[in-house]
Subunit: 310 residues, 2 copies
C-alpha cells in the first residue's frame, strides 16, 4: 500500500500511539513516523523499542514538516499541547486526536488551530487495560470502530485522506456529531468504567472479606470489573471531568434503575427480576451478531492475536 | 485414575452438570454417569449428545444406587428436588449441590436429608454466559475454585472423597462457613452481576442512542457488562432472592461510594478521582498474580481451550 502521509507525528506515546506506530509500519501507511512524549523516560523507552523512526524532545519540534499530527495525550493535556504546536504546524497539515471525549477536545484545541490546517477530531474505540509505550500492538484497531467528528465546513478531501489511513490500519470509520459522540460513549464506556471502578473500590474497603479472598474468588463476574478498573487513571480522570454532563445524566438513570431492582430484591419480586434479566440477553446477542465479540465459551475475543509490540 | 465414585447422578443438565459429565469422563472419575432434567426436551438433547451413560425421566429414579448425587438445579428448585429424592437415596451416599448461594440451599435441602446420607454443600466458581446441556466443556473447572461449606459434624472421609473428585476435574477446593461464602460471593459475583444487568438495562431504555449504536460501539467497557448480563435469568433471579441480605448490604455500600465519585465529578475534583482509580489497579494486579486471569493484552483467559463439549 502506498503511504497515505509522508510524515506522521505522534504526540504522547502510550498504548494508542504505540499501536498506531506498529500498525502504520506493518501496513506501510506512513513515509516517516516521528514521535514525542513529555517524559524523558518514555522517550528513552521508545528510542529503545524503535517503533518511531525519530523521537523528538518537544512537541513543537516533532510537528515540523508533518502532514499528519495525532494528539495522543490525555484530554486534560490537549489545550497546552495545541498552544505549543500551533505556530509550528505545516500549512495544509491534518491535525487529529484520539481523545475519548470530543466536545471538550474541540473547545480545548479548536481555538489554537491556524488557518489552513485541517482539524478533524477522532476517537478509536479500542484499548486494553494496559498503558504506556510497551503496551502497543499492530492489530489493536483491526475490526474496531474509529469515530470521527469533523467540524462544520471541514475539508472533505482531508477527511477522506485521514479515513483512508484509519481504514488501512483495519478500523471501521464512522462520522458523528461531537455531542452525540459524548452521549454514546457515556453509555457504552464512561459510565461502565465508573461503575467498575466503584465496585472494585467497595471490595477493597470491605473488612469482613479479605483481599486475598476477593482475589482468589474473582472468577465469577468481578474479574471483568477489575480488568476495566485497571485502566489508566489519568486518562479516566480527564474523561469524567470533561464529559461531566453526559456521564452524570447516565449515572442518574443507572442509580434509578438499580434502585428499582434493589427494591425487587427486598420485596422478593422474582417475576420482575426474571423479566429484566431476560431482556438484557437480547442486547448481548446483538453484539455477537455485529461481530464485536464472539460466542465461544471461554470468552475468546474477536480480534487476532498481537503480531507486534509485546 | 481409578473412579472415585461408582455412580454419579446429576440432577439438572445445564452448563455445570454437562461440564461435570465431560470432565468426569475425560478423567475417568466415575464408574457410571447418570442424569435427569425436568424438561423432556433437555433429556432428549442429552441422550443425543451422549455425555451421560443413562438419562432417567425422574430425579427419584436417577438417584437410585448412586453413591454421589449432585443437585445442579437453580437454588429455588432445590427444596422440591430434595423432597422428591430423599426416600430413594442410597445409605452412605454423598449429596452435594452447585448452587451459588449456600445458606438458602442448606435451609432448603438439609431438613430432607435422611440419616446416613452425607450432605456436603458446594459451589464451583466457574461458568460462562451460556447455559443448557450444549454449553458444557470438560475444562470448565480447571484452575478454578470449588468452595465446600460442610455442616458441623460432617463426615471427614466423605468430604475428602468428594474433594478428590473435584480436584480430579482440575479444581482447587477450599472450605468455608456458609454465611461467609454468601458474603464473599455477594462481593465477587452477585452484586457485579446485578450492576451489569442494570447498566445494560439503562442502555436498552435510552431513546437518544439507538440499539444499533450501543451494539456497534460496545468495545470499550460495555461489552464485558453485556457478557455478564447474558447469564441465565432463572439462576440469577434465584441468587438474588436467596442471597438477599448480603446482596443488599453490598449494594448499599456500592451506591454510597458511587455517590462519592459522582459528587467528585460534579465538583470537578480530579485529585479524588485520580487517587481512587489508582488504588483499584492494585487489586487487578493481585488477581493476575494469583493466576485467575492473564496480563496478556487482548484479554486472554487463564484456562485452556475446551477439549470436549461444544
Amino acid at each position: 500500500m502506498a503511504a497515505t502521509y509522508n510524515r506522521v507525528a505522534l504526540i504522547g506515546l502510550g498504548l494508542i500511539a504505540s499501536s498506531m506506530a506498529h500498525a502504520l509500519r506493518w501496513k506501510g501507511l506512513a513515509g516517516e513516523i516521528v514521535g514525542t512524549a513529555r517524559s524523558a523516560e518514555t522517550r528513552a523507552v521508545v528510542r529503545e523499542l524503535g517503533f518511531c523512526d525519530r523521537v523528538c524532545d518537544t512537541a513543537a519540534e516533532v510537528v515540523q514538516g508533518a502532514d499528519l499530527v495525532v494528539l495522543c495525550v490525555p484530554v486534560g493535556a490537549m489545550a497546552a499541547i495545541a498552544a505549543e504546536i500551533a505556530p509550528h504546524l505545516a500549512p495544509g497539515a491534518t491535525l487529529t486526536d484520539v481523545g475519548s471525549v470530543k466536545q471538550a477536545v474541540i473547545e480545548a484545541v479548536g481555538p489554537h488551530v491556524p488557518e489552513g490546517v485541517h482539524f478533524i477530531p477522532g476517537h478509536p474505540l479500542a484499548g486494553t487495560e494496559h498503558s504506556g509505550p510497551r503496551s502497543g500492538f499492530a492489530t489493536l484497531f483491526v475490526n474496531r470502530w474509529w469515530l470521527l467528528t469533523p467540524l462544520s465546513g471541514a475539508d472533505d478531501a482531508a477527511t477522506a485522506r485521514l479515513r483512508g489511513l484509519l481504514e488501512g490500519m483495519g478500523a471501521h470509520v464512522d462520522e458523528m456529531e461531537p455531542a452525540h459522540h459524548d452521549l454514546v460513549l457515556a453509555v457504552t464506556s464512561h459510565t461502565p468504567h465508573l461503575i467498575a471502578y466503584t465496585m472494585v473500590g467497595v471490595a477493597d474497603h470491605l473488612r469482613r472479606v479479605t483481599k486475598s479472598e476477593i482475589i482468589k474468588y474473582s472468577a465469577a463476574g468481578f474479574r471483568d470489573f477489575t480488568r476495566i478498573a485497571a485502566s489508566d487513571p489519568t486518562m479516566w480522570r480527564d474523561v469524567f471531568l470533561t464529559n461531566r454532563e453526559a456521564t452524570l445524566d447516565i449515572l442518574g438513570r443507572f442509580t434509578e434503575e438499580l434502585f428499582v431492582l434493589q427494591r425487587a430484591i427486598r420485596m422478593g419480586d422474582g417475576e420482575q427480576l426474571f423479566e429484566y434479566f431476560t431482556r438484557t440477553r437480547a442486547i448481548r446477542r446483538g453484539i455477537i451478531e455485529a461481530g464485536q465479540d464472539t460466542a465461544a465459551p471461554d470468552f475468546g475475543r474477536g480480534v487476532p492475536a498481537p503480531e507486534a509490540g509485546e
